[in-house]
C-alpha cells in the first residue's frame, strides 16, 4: 500500500525528545529497593521519538484531514450537529472546573455541586419530569441507567417482567440495552404513517412486559401522533414508558415528555444541548424520571440540605453506580451554559427553527428524492435513494460519497432500517438559509449526475484526501495497530 501521510511512529528518530520533565529533586533510591525484580518493565514501549514541533505539525495536519461543524454543514440525522458555542468551551476550561479533583471535600466544591443541581433542576422543568441524574456518559449509557431503574422498580414491587418492546425504527442501542439488562426484546412494526403500529403494540402488551422504548419524534423525524394513547395502553398493562430522547431538539418548549406519559427518559446532552461531539465522544447524558422511579436513581444524588449542596449516597433502593465519580462533568458545564444562554424563549426558538429548517429542506428535495413518509416532519426527515438506485444504479452510499466532493458531510444513511436506501437529514436550527440552499442544490446536482454521468457518482469521492476505502478488506484482514519494522503483527 502507498503511504501518503505518515503515522507519528513513522516520523520517529531514536533519541529525539519532546518533553520538559523536571529533574528528580529528592534523593534517588535504587529501583531494586522500591520495585521487586519481576515487577519491573524490561523493554520500553515503542512510542514515537519526535520533537514538540513535529508533534504539533503532525496533529495540526491531521486536523486538516478531518471534517467538522466548524468547517461545514454536517446534516447527520439523529445526531443534531448544531453549532458548539465557543463561549461554553471557555467556561468549561475555567480552572475551578477543569482542575477540580473529584474527591475534594463537599464543602469545597459547592460551585460544582450547585451547577449539577441547577442543571438537573432546569432539565427536569424542561422535560416535565420529577428528578434528573446527569451521571451517564452518553445516550446508550443513559438507556442502561433507565432500564436498570425500571428493572429495580419491578423487583422492588415483586413483579417478574421479562420483555421490552421496541419499534422497528428504533436506534440499535435500544434493543442492545434491553439485552444488557437481561430483557428479551420484542419488535413492533411501524404503520403506514410512520407511527408505531398501535394495534400490534396492543397485541404484544401483557403482564410480562417491563417497558416500551419509544423514540419521539421517532427516527423517521415524525411525531408519534398517538403517543398519549400508547402511554395509556402501556400503563394499563402495568409497564413503563421509556423515551429515547435523542430527538428532544424538536420538542423544547413545545411539548414535554413528562406530559406525554413517559415515566423515564434519557436525552443526549451532546445533541440537543450542544456539547461538542469530539469525533465520537465524550458525550454526556441526562436521565429524567417520574417520582415513582426516583428512589432508584444511581448514587450519588446531588441534594440540597440547609442551603448547602451534598452528595447523597444513602439511597437503599439505588441501582448503584454506573461509572466512577459523577458524570462527564466538563460537558455538563457546557450543557448548563447552553441552557442559561438560551433560556426559555431561546430554547423554544431552537425547536421551532430546527423544525422549520428540516421541513424547508424536505420540501426542496421532494421533487428529486423519494420521501417515503411525506408529511410535516419535526427536526429531521428521511429521504430515500430508491429512485436513483432503480433508474440509474446509483446507491445511497454513492450519493453520500459524492456529497463529500461538494464540501458537505453526508447525512446518516441506511438508517432507520425500515426505509430502503435511507438518507436521514437533520439540518438543525444553527444553519443558515444559504447553507440549506447550497446543500439542496448539491443534492439536486447529484440527482442530475446520477441520470447523466452515473459513473462520477459511483466512483465518488474524487477530491478527498483518500478515495473510497476498502471496508471489506479492513474487516477481513484486521490491521488494528502499527507494528515496528522487523516485528510481526499480532
Amino acid at each position: 500500500m502507498r503511504q501518503v501521510f505518515p503515522l507519528i511512529f513513522e516520523r520517529s528518530v531514536p533519541g529525539r525528545r519532546a518533553h520538559g520533565l523536571p529533574p528528580l529533586d529528592v534523593p534517588a533510591v535504587p529501583l531494586e529497593e522500591l520495585v521487586p525484580e519481576g515487577a519491573r518493565r524490561r523493554t520500553p514501549p515503542a512510542l514515537p521519538e519526535v520533537s514538540e514541533l513535529e508533534v504539533v505539525r503532525h496533529y495540526t495536519l491531521l486536523s486538516h484531514r478531518n471534517f467538522s461543524i466548524d468547517q461545514g454543514f454536517v446534516p447527520l440525522g439523529s445526531c443534531t450537529m448544531k453549532y458548539n458555542p465557543k463561549l461554553h468551551e471557555e467556561v468549561a476550561r475555567l480552572a475551578g472546573f477543569a482542575r477540580l479533583h473529584p474527591y475534594t471535600p463537599e464543602e469545597l466544591v459547592q460551585g460544582a455541586l450547585g451547577l449539577l443541581y441547577e442543571l438537573a433542576e432546569e432539565l427536569a422543568k424542561l422535560v416535565g419530569m420529577d428528578a434528573v441524574t446527569v451521571q451517564p456518559a452518553a445516550g446508550a449509557h443513559g438507556e442502561l441507567v433507565g432500564l436498570l431503574m425500571i428493572r429495580a422498580y419491578f423487583a422492588h414491587r415483586g413483579e417478574e417482567r421479562t420483555k421490552v418492546i421496541v419499534p422497528d425504527s428504533a436506534h440499535g442501542t435500544n434493543p442492545a440495552t434491553a439485552a444488557m439488562v437481561g430483557y428479551r426484546v420484542v419488535t413492533v412494526p411501524s404503520d403506514a404513517r410512520g407511527n408505531m403500529d398501535v394495534g400490534r403494540l396492543e397485541a404484544e402488551l401483557g403482564p410480562d412486559v417491563a417497558a416500551v422504548m419509544l423514540t419521539n419524534p421517532n427516527t423517521l423525524g415524525l411525531f408519534e401522533e398517538q403517543v398519549d394513547r400508547i402511554a395509556e395502553l402501556v400503563h394499563a398493562a402495568g409497564a413503563q414508558m421509556y423515551l429515547d430522547g435523542a430527538n428532544l431538539n424538536a420538542m423544547l418548549g413545545i411539548t414535554r415528555p413528562g406530559d406525554q406519559g413517559f415515566d423515564v427518559m434519557h436525552t443526549n446532552l451532546h445533541k440537543t444541548f450542544s456539547t461538542p461531539h469530539g469525533g465520537g465522544g465524550p458525550g454526556a447524558c441526562a436521565v429524567a424520571v417520574k417520582a415513582h422511579l426516583e428512589p432508584f436513581l444511581p448514587v450519588p444524588v446531588v441534594a440540597k440540605r440547609g442551603g448547602r449542596y451534598v452528595l447523597d449516597w444513602d439511597r437503599p433502593h439505588s441501582i448503584g453506580k454506573v461509572r466512577a465519580f459523577y458524570g462527564n462533568f466538563a460537558n455538563l458545564v457546557r450543557a448548563y451554559a447552553y441552557v442559561r444562554t438560551l433560556g426559555e424563549e431561546g430554547l423554544r426558538a431552537v425547536a421551532e427553527h430546527a423544525v422549520l429548517h428540516a421541513n424547508y429542506l424536505r420540501v426542496r428535495l421532494a421533487p428529486y428524492y423519494e420521501i417515503p413518509y411525506d408529511r410535516i416532519c419535526k427536526h429531521e426527515f428521511v429521504a430515500s435513494g430508491v429512485r436513483q438506485k432503480r433508474e440509474n444504479g446509483v446507491t445511497t452510499k454513492d450519493i453520500a460519497k459524492r456529497l463529500l466532493d461538494y464540501g458537505f458531510h453526508a447525512p446518516t444513511i441506511y438508517f432507520p432500517l425500515i426505509v430502503e436506501e435511507a438518507i436521514m437529514i437533520e439540518p438543525t436550527e444553527t444553519e443558515s438559509l444559504q447553507t440549506l440552499d447550497a446543500f439542496a442544490e448539491a443534492m439536486i446536482a447529484i440527482h442530475r449526475e446520477a441520470q447523466e454521468t452515473p459513473e462520477v457518482v459511483k466512483t465518488a469521492p474524487h477530491t478527498t484526501p483518500v478515495r473510497r476505502l476498502d471496508e471489506v478488506r479492513a474487516a477481513r484482514v484486521p490491521d488494528l495497530r502499527w507494528t515496528p519494522p522487523g516485528k510481526s503483527a499480532p
Binding site: 519481576g38 515487577a39 495540526t60 491531521l62 472546573f97 474527591y103 456518559a137 439488562v181 476505502l469
Partner: protein, 461 residues
C-alpha cells in the same frame, strides 16, 4: 435569537416554500392534550458577559488543584499536562467532528485513533486495544461481561484491592445478567495469592485485580495470573494509571488476557471526574468479543493507505440485541489527548514520569512515616500512592489541611467505614520537594494532639 441565524424575512420565505402560514402550523401533529401551553419557569437567559461572570463565580467556589496542592489520587491524577496536548486536541476540526462514519473526510481522527490503539498496546504490552470506552470503571464492568461471553462461565472473582467504585460499577453491570461477582478481601492492602487460589475455580470466568492497586500497592501480578490460568479463567488487570507501566512490567508481559483501564492520567484534566478515558486491550484472538469502536488500516481505490472503523458487526447499530455491548459513542477526544500526550513523552518520557512519581512518592512516604502519630498502613512495595494511618480521623485531617492549602488525600472512610483513620495519599511528578516538605510540616502541626485553650492561657499566665 442566540445561535439561530434565520431572519424574519428568511423565516417567511421558508414557511411559504413549505406551504404553511406560521411556525405553529409545523406542530399540528402533536395532540393538543400534550402541548405545552404554560411557561416552564426556567431561570432567566444570560447575555454572554453575564454568563461568563456567573460561571466564573461558580468556578471560584471550588477548591481546585491550582489553589490546593493536590496529594489526592484514587483514580484521578494530577499529572502535568503539556499545553500542546489540548491546544491541539481542542482544535475545532477535532472537537466539533462527528464519529468517522464518512471515513474519506475524517482520516484525521481515524488515523489518530489507530495511533492511539498502537500506543495503548505498547504501553500495556497487549495485542489489540479499542478506540476507547466511557471510563475505567465502566470499561472494567464491560470486561467482566466479555469474560463471561468468552468462557461461558458466570462468576468473576474481583480483588478487594480494586478501586471501590470500579467494583460497584462492575456489580451494577453484572447483576442483571446473573453474573456472580465474588469479592476477595484484600490482605493488608494486597491481593493474596493464597486467598485467590481458594476462590478461583472451574466456575470462574475471570480473576480481576488492579495494578497498581487501589491502595497504591504493586501486586504480584505474575503469580495471580498463574492462579487464574490454572483454573482456566481469564486474568483481567484493571489500572487507574497506565503511566505506572513506564516502569512496571506491563500487564501483557505478566499474563493479562484483558486489561481495563482509566486513561485520564494520559493528558486529561481532572474535570471533577469526567470526561475520562476508558481503555480496553486484549489478545487478538478475543477481538470479536471486545466491545467498543475499532479503527483499522486499509487501502483506498487507488491503493493508498487509509483508515476506517472496522469489525462493526460486534456493535449495536448492526447487531442490535446481539451486540457485544450497547455502547455507541466513545471518548475519542480524550483518546486523542492521550495520543498527543504519549507522543510528547515518548519511551523516555513515560519512563521518567513513572520514575519521578515513584521516587517522589517514596520520599513523602518516608517523611510521613517519621511523623509522630502517623504511620504507613500497609507494608509492601507501592507506586505513587500509599495509605497513611492518621492520628485523627482522615476526613477531619483533610478539612484542616485544606485551610493550610493542601488537598491532603482521599479519606478511605468514604469507601469503608472501618477505615476512619486511613488516608490515601498520592504524589505525581508535578509535586515538588518543597511542596512535600511544607505538606509534612502541616501534617505534623495538624496531627499534634490539640492542647486545650485553657492550658495555653495558663502557660502564658
Amino acid at each position: 435569537m442566540r445561535y439561530i441565524p434565520t431572519t424574519p424575512e428568511e423565516r417567511s420565505h421558508m414557511l411559504r416554500t413549505i406551504g404553511v402560514e406560521s411556525l405553529e402550523d409545523l406542530f399540528g401533529d402533536i395532540p393538543e392534550g400534550v402541548r405545552l401551553r404554560s411557561p416552564l419557569g426556567l431561570r432567566r437567559a444570560l447575555a454572554d458577559p453575564e454568563l461568563l461572570a456567573y460561571f466564573r463565580q461558580l468556578a471560584e467556589q471550588n477548591a481546585h488543584a491550582d489553589r490546593l496542592t493536590c496529594f489526592a489520587g484514587a483514580g484521578a491524577y494530577d499529572h502535568f499536562i503539556p499545553p500542546a496536548v489540548w491546544q491541539l486536541a481542542a482544535r475545532g476540526e477535532f472537537l466539533t467532528a462527528y464519529t468517522p462514519y464518512q471515513a474519506e473526510i475524517t482520516q484525521g481522527e481515524l488515523q489518530a485513533g489507530y495511533e492511539y490503539q498502537t500506543m495503548i498496546c505498547e504501553l500495556l504490552g497487549m495485542e489489540v486495544a479499542n478506540a476507547s470506552m466511557y471510563d475505567g470503571a465502566s470499561a472494567l464492568a464491560e470486561v467482566a461481561v466479555m469474560s463471561r461471553d468468552l468462557t461461558h462461565r458466570d462468576r468473576v472473582v474481583i480483588s478487594g484491592a480494586v478501586h471501590p467504585e470500579y467494583r460497584q460499577v462492575l456489580r451494577t453491570y453484572t447483576a442483571p445478567l446473573g453474573i456472580e461477582a465474588i469479592e476477595l478481601p484484600h490482605r493488608e492492602g494486597y491481593t493474596s495469592v493464597e486467598e485467590a487460589k481458594k476462590w478461583v475455580d472451574g466456575r470462574c470466568a475471570a480473576l480481576v485485580i488492579q495494578q497498581p492497586n487501589f491502595f497504591g500497592g504493586i501486586e504480584e501480578a505474575a503469580a495471580l495470573a498463574e492462579v487464574a490460568h490454572a483454573a482456566g479463567a481469564l486474568f483481567v488487570v484493571a489500572t487507574a494509571d497506565p503511566l505506572a507501566f513506564g516502569l512496571l512490567a506491563p500487564p501483557g508481559e505478566v499474563g493479562a488476557d484483558i486489561v481495563a483501564g482509566e486513561g485520564q492520567p494520559l493528558g486529561n484534566p481532572l474535570n471533577f471526574g469526567g470526561p475520562y478515558l476508558g481503555i480496553i486491550a486484549t489478545r487478538m484472538q478475543f477481538v470479536r468479543r471486545m466491545p467498543g469502536r475499532l479503527v483499522g488500516a486499509t487501502v483506498d481505490a487507488e491503493g493508498k493507505r487509509g483508515f476506517v472503523l472496522t469489525l462493526q458487526t460486534r456493535e449495536q447499530h448492526i447487531r442490535r440485541e446481539r451486540a457485544t455491548s450497547n455502547i455507541c459513542t466513545n471518548e475519542f477526544l480524550n483518546a486523542l489527548a492521550a495520543t498527543i500526550y504519549l507522543s510528547l513523552l515518548g519511551p523516555d518520557g513515560v519512563r521518567q514520569v513513572a520514575e519521578l512519581c515513584l521516587q517522589k512518592a517514596h520520599y513523602l512516604k518516608r517523611r510521613i512515616a517519621e511523623l509522630p502519630g502517623y504511620g504507613i498502613a500497609f507494608e509492601g512495595p507501592t507506586f505513587h500512592e500509599f495509605v497513611v494511618r492518621t492520628p485523627l480521623p482522615a476526613a477531619t485531617l483533610v478539612r484542616r489541611l485544606a485551610r493550610e492549602g493542601f488537598l491532603a488525600g482521599v479519606p478511605l472512610s468514604r469507601f469503608d467505614p472501618r477505615m476512619r483513620h486511613h488516608l490515601l495519599v498520592c504524589v505525581t511528578e508535578a509535586r515538588t520537594r518543597e511542596e512535600m516538605d511544607r505538606f509534612t510540616e502541616a501534617l505534623k502541626r495538624v496531627g499534634r494532639p490539640r492542647q486545650r485553650a485553657s492550658a495555653l492561657v495558663g502557660r502564658r499566665g
